[in-house]
């Protein structure tokens, strides 16, 4: 009675897909963030890391396609569930007062869509170089690209805003991951919130440090 198709069709199955892909993406952003922090060690470190990542086309594209698939599945599951959840209550309450849901939980939908927009922008900005406000994009000088673009205040602020959204997204998302995977135990449950919040803070603050430092003139 259970086939992969039935699994993917089930609301719980789709949540598991979101959780697993979400975990992959959390792993990715953690690594991404750590790599980015090399910017503080100077141009050589960062550019060297960039060159290393691109040294094997096979590995690069495997990772890229894997990530793309993860994002695709994550977004597909999210959008179809959002749609289902919208039609599940055709007549809205005249009055409804949330009792328990956290702000980060309620922001998942809007925040998630904002992050999707951001990811597209981010790829056009730093991967393909299609968007390069006020500077010339270089495929090898990652450091230059970063510093030049974050000196443009709206770009930096847009990035910071996106990372705040990521903070909210991960705070609920990581906690939710445990819940969806079924890892719940009264003794360890308080730790789930702590782990989620700490990881979310590390990722987002790590990312935010870079545009902040550049805007503040610490890096140039």
């Amino acid at each position: 009675m259970s086939t992969p198709l039935a699994f993917a069709r089930s609301t719980v199955g789709r949540k598991v897909i979101m959780a697993v892909t979400g975990l992959l993406l959390v792993g990715f952003v953690l690594g991404h963030m750590a790599g980015n922090l090399l910017v503080f060690k100077g141009p050589e470190a960062l550019n060297g890391w960039g060159a290393f990542l691109k040294s094997s086309a096979l590995v690069l594209w495997t990772v890229r396609l894997g990530l793309l698939a993860a994002v695709g599945l994550h977004v597909w599951a999210a959008l179809t569930l959002i749609r289902l959840n919208q039609v599940s209550r055709p007549v809205a309450y005249a009055k409804r007062v949330p009792q328990a849901s956290t702000r980060s939980a309620r922001l998942m939908r809007v925040g998630g869509i904002f992050l999707l927009v951001f990811i597209v922008f981010h790829l056009l900005h730093f991967t393909t170089g299609t968007i390069h406000p006020g500077y010339t994009f270089s495929h090898t000088d990652v450091y230059g690209n970063v510093v030049s673009s974050f000196q443009v205040p709206w770009v930096a602020l847009f990035y910071i805003a996106a990372m705040v959204a990521l903070l909210a997204h991960l705070t609920h998302g990581i906690w939710s991951f445990f819940q969806t995977m079924g890892w719940s135990h009264t003794r360890y449950n308080p730790a789930r919130r702590v782990v989620a919040t700490v990881v979310a803070l590390i990722v987002s603050l790590g990312f935010i440090a870079i545009p902040s430092a550049i805007l503040g003139g610490m890096l140039r």
Binding site: T11, V12, V16, R89, A100, A105, Q179, S184
Partner: protein, 258 residues
């Protein structure tokens, strides 16, 4: 005390409904919420107006018949309390109270505050049981159940099936209801043989009934008069995931057995 009510009135499933305003005068703080509605209804009948229809039966918080949205909160402002056990001392003189039926695609309104919750029965039908026919069960002491397991089964088994979890969930999801049963039977040794089938069957039925999905808001637990915990949902998720991975196709011969 005197209160102003805004109550959802809808003559039947096919008609449109709207909020109507009623004045409830001389309400005693010792009345239950439903007794307050009784008094309003007595007044309506005397005036020749149709009384407000609402489901209720035991009025002691255990049958699960009653349940309305009170000022935007399922079962009203007092935590862990079904509508019938909510007393008017939770309100103040002059309060305005909005009273609405549970709202979900799966729970169509039948009249006023009465909704059709039969999907919950069908979810149970899809596996919320242990397949044991009457007679000749082994001696009750043949199966040892650790006290902790019995207690946590009981925690989940307390569900009264009122549907407040669905009503409170922003997605109108029935996860907490379904999980309570999956969890109750899943932690007991008696429930093991059918554990996989149960999770798969009940979740499939839940989806089929048109409930929304779970987004881990936690509104359900907060609304639950019995305080069924979110841990039950985690357990059901795990059972579903594990069952999905290890379920084998039933052999035709086995499936045909009665």
């Amino acid at each position: 005390m005197n209160l102003t009510l805004h109550v959802w009135r809808q003559p039947d499933a096919g008609s449109a409904g709207r909020l109507e305003r009623y004045e409830a005068r001389g309400v005693s703080p010792d009345m239950s919420f439903l007794e307050m509605l009784d008094v309003v209804n007595e007044g309506l009948i005397e005036k020749g107006e149709a009384p407000i229809a609402f489901d209720h039966d035991c009025r002691e918080g255990i049958c699960g018949s009653c349940g309305v949205m009170i000022n935007g909160v399922a079962h009203g402002p007092m935590a862990g309390t079904a509508t019938c056990q909510l007393h008017m001392r939770s309100f103040r003189d002059g309060d305005e109270i909005v009273v609405e039926p549970w709202r979900a695609r799966a729970f169509p309104v039948l009249r006023d505050l009465v909704v059709d919750r039969s999907p919950l029965d069908r979810i149970i039908e899809a596996g919320g049981f242990i397949s044991i026919a009457t007679g000749n069960a082994p001696d009750a002491h043949a199966i040892l159940v650790p006290k902790q397991d019995a207690d946590s089964a009981m925690d989940a088994a307390q569900c009264i099936g009122c549907g407040a979890c669905v009503a409170a969930c922003p997605n109108a999801s029935a996860m907490l209801f379904t999980a309570a049963k999956v969890s109750h039977l899943g932690v007991l040794p008696q429930g093991q043989p059918e554990r996989d089938r149960r999770a798969l069957g009940m979740i499939a039925q839940m989806d089929l009934e048109g409930f929304g999905g779970c987004t881990n808001y936690g509104e359900c637990t907060e609304a639950c008069p019995k305080g069924i915990s979110l841990e039950t949902i985690a357990r059901m998720n795990r059972d579903f995931r594990v069952a999905s991975l290890r379920a084998r196709p039933e052999s035709a011969a086995a499936a045909g057995a009665p």
